[in-house]
Symmetry: C2
Subunit: 352 residues, 2 copies
């Protein structure tokens, strides 16, 4: 590699960078069923189950801001966002390892709070914290999380199995976490200007909880198991509906059509979007951090889904390879091409 050249990473973005650094990966062990490229790697050690492994790095100032995120919540969310990756494979998280690089300005008390959140999430989701590393950091708090999960071999779900005519389903509602972040950013600016200690955030409780203390959809994974339904493809909504739909389409070599009027948006999200002058659909499409599940199912399940309050059919799979379209309320059809949030391109500026 010619290190004298200087191509900024923002020129190519995260996904192209990942392609570049993983393209020469070679597999040596027969236990490796799938490596890089989905929400988690798949390993085969047992006859009946596969093991799932996923890792994340969370950086202060990029993924969280200690000015408004209590460290207990940061710890909780660090676990939850990784549990969500295992859910996206139709699996159950079992073990976690957490590393922290800690700057001087953080006290023993603050790091203990961080771990209170980590332990609480582990307790809530029956996960064992089995390892980690602690080190000094010259600058910002950085958290490395690796989660291990398990899934029945027969019911594991990748991003790559969607078929034309499949239904596209999202759980819960979308866009709230993004608006929660906008309110927190606004209050931080007001606080910095006026030094007023306690902003009144009561009316924003729902969207703030969605931002600060998301919960992974373990309940949906259990429901799917109970009903013996296996999605054809699945992903969790961490970078925005648009980005995740593009991942499903590209991995499955299909197209996806999303109907704007079907995208579930909470009335809290609607109200705040109106207040801030933002289109709520745009929050759902490009905001991210909702940690809902997006999956596809054969059309035969349409009736069975009708009675389930937390599952929403928002579109369907098409044969138009890699094309994700949004059918707007006006009937206009637009191509969704943006990859959602990319920390290299929109570093610390999570604006739509």
């Amino acid at each position: 590699m010619d290190e004298t050249k200087f191509t900024p990473i923002s020129n190519i973005g995260e996904f192209e960078l990942i392609n570049k650094i993983t393209s020469s990966t070679k597999i040596n062990n027969k236990s490796t069923i799938m490596g890089v490229g989905d929400d988690a790697a798949i390993l085969e050690f047992d006859k009946k189950v596969h093991r799932l492994l996923s890792t994340d790095m969370l950086v202060e100032g990029v993924h969280f801001d200690c000015a408004y995120s209590p460290l207990k919540h940061v710890g909780y969310k660090a676990v939850v966002s990784n549990v969500s990756d295992i859910c996206a494979m139709n699996g159950r998280a079992t073990h976690i390892l957490i590393s922290v690089a800690i700057p001087n300005k953080y006290s023993v008390e603050l790091i203990t709070s961080l771990y209170e959140g980590i332990h609480l999430a582990c307790k809530n989701y029956k996960i064992d914290l089995i390892g980690g590393d602690t080190t000094a950091s010259p600058s910002v708090l950085t958290i490395g999380v690796t989660v291990l999960g398990v899934a029945d071999k027969k019911s594991i779900v990748c991003r790559s199995g969607a078929n034309p005519t499949d239904l596209l389903i999202t759980t819960g509602d979308l866009g709230a976490a993004y608006l929660g972040l906008q309110i927190l950013e606004r209050e931080k600016m007001i606080f910095e200007k006026s030094n007023q200690a306690q902003p009144l955030l009561g009316e924003y409780t729902y969207i703030l909880e969605r931002q600060l203390k998301p919960e992974p959809r373990v309940d949906i994974i259990e429901w799917l198991k109970e009903k013996n339904i296996i999605p054809t493809s699945m992903i969790d909504v961490s970078d925005g509906l648009s980005s995740e739909a593009l991942h499903l389409a590209r991995s499955s070599s299909v197209g996806i059509k999303i109907f704007e009027d079907r995208i579930p948006v909470s009335h809290h999200t609607n109200d705040t979007a109106k207040e801030l002058g933002i289109n709520p659909s745009m929050c759902a499409l490009h905001g991210g951090e909702d940690y809902e599940l997006l999956f596809t199912l054969p059309i035969k399940y349409h009736k069975q889904l009708a009675g389930v309050s937390d599952l929403h059919v928002i579109g369907h799979v098409t044969a138009q390879k890699n094309i994700v379209e949004l059918v707007k309320e006006s009937g206009e059809v637009i191509n969704l091409t943006k990859d959602g949030w990319d920390s290299f391109i929109k570093h610390n500026q999570k604006h739509i």
Copy 2:
């Protein structure tokens, strides 16, 4: 937790911090044989083998300095130091996940070099790179590594099995990596003052290689297997002989006596130590990063070890709980109480 209090982490150090944040850990899954507290966690999924998991976080300015460490070497060493943790359990590394937080100043070319080192180490040690995360960093390059390994249930080795009268053995030679770092630091200072581009480092080749491109002792693990020898306790020398001996003693509730004249030190290390006016034994005891293995064996193996050039009996296990003693060449006996390198206390100042 009272977050209004402020106890600096340097007041308590890394090991006390780890105790604090892991003491409330609860285990929910019966597959967890051992969590936090050794070189790797032990998981039971199979009948015959255990799975091993270990994680590390490497921070620019704390663990490596890009002013003198080529990124290809940084990548190689990131993998190797984790493979060494699996060796320390008498296991074999199989899979790895690597996350990187990348500052703006790093180009696509530099990150590609980092991954050339990662891929080379994976190739050399037959490890599959199966996952990772890439994100922006507002400050320094940070690398998160999680390694998965495997070991026969019957031959897995923890820190906790040493018995009085056992022999204490180290592989290879110690202290060279630390002196390599001192030379690099010195040349960096000279370069910064005089702006002379190419320092002449030829005479330091051995100690520089030990610092920049260490190799884990996979060969020793294979030798032990071949000879059907299972150590009673084992650890890898990452923080210095003194620190590692203390870990073995505390985990096994025994004491350890080390004879200074038995500590293997290369003549290169001796020469450079003399040049810099440092006691070479101190480099071995408190330097770290040698990635050799330190283990204990029943005394009956004494004869069998005699003919093996790369294994050195440097002392023995005693019944004096948690006491590690150094018998100096003069016959004087001193207590070793220091925990070796602690990034919170000696951040970026790895001096003895």
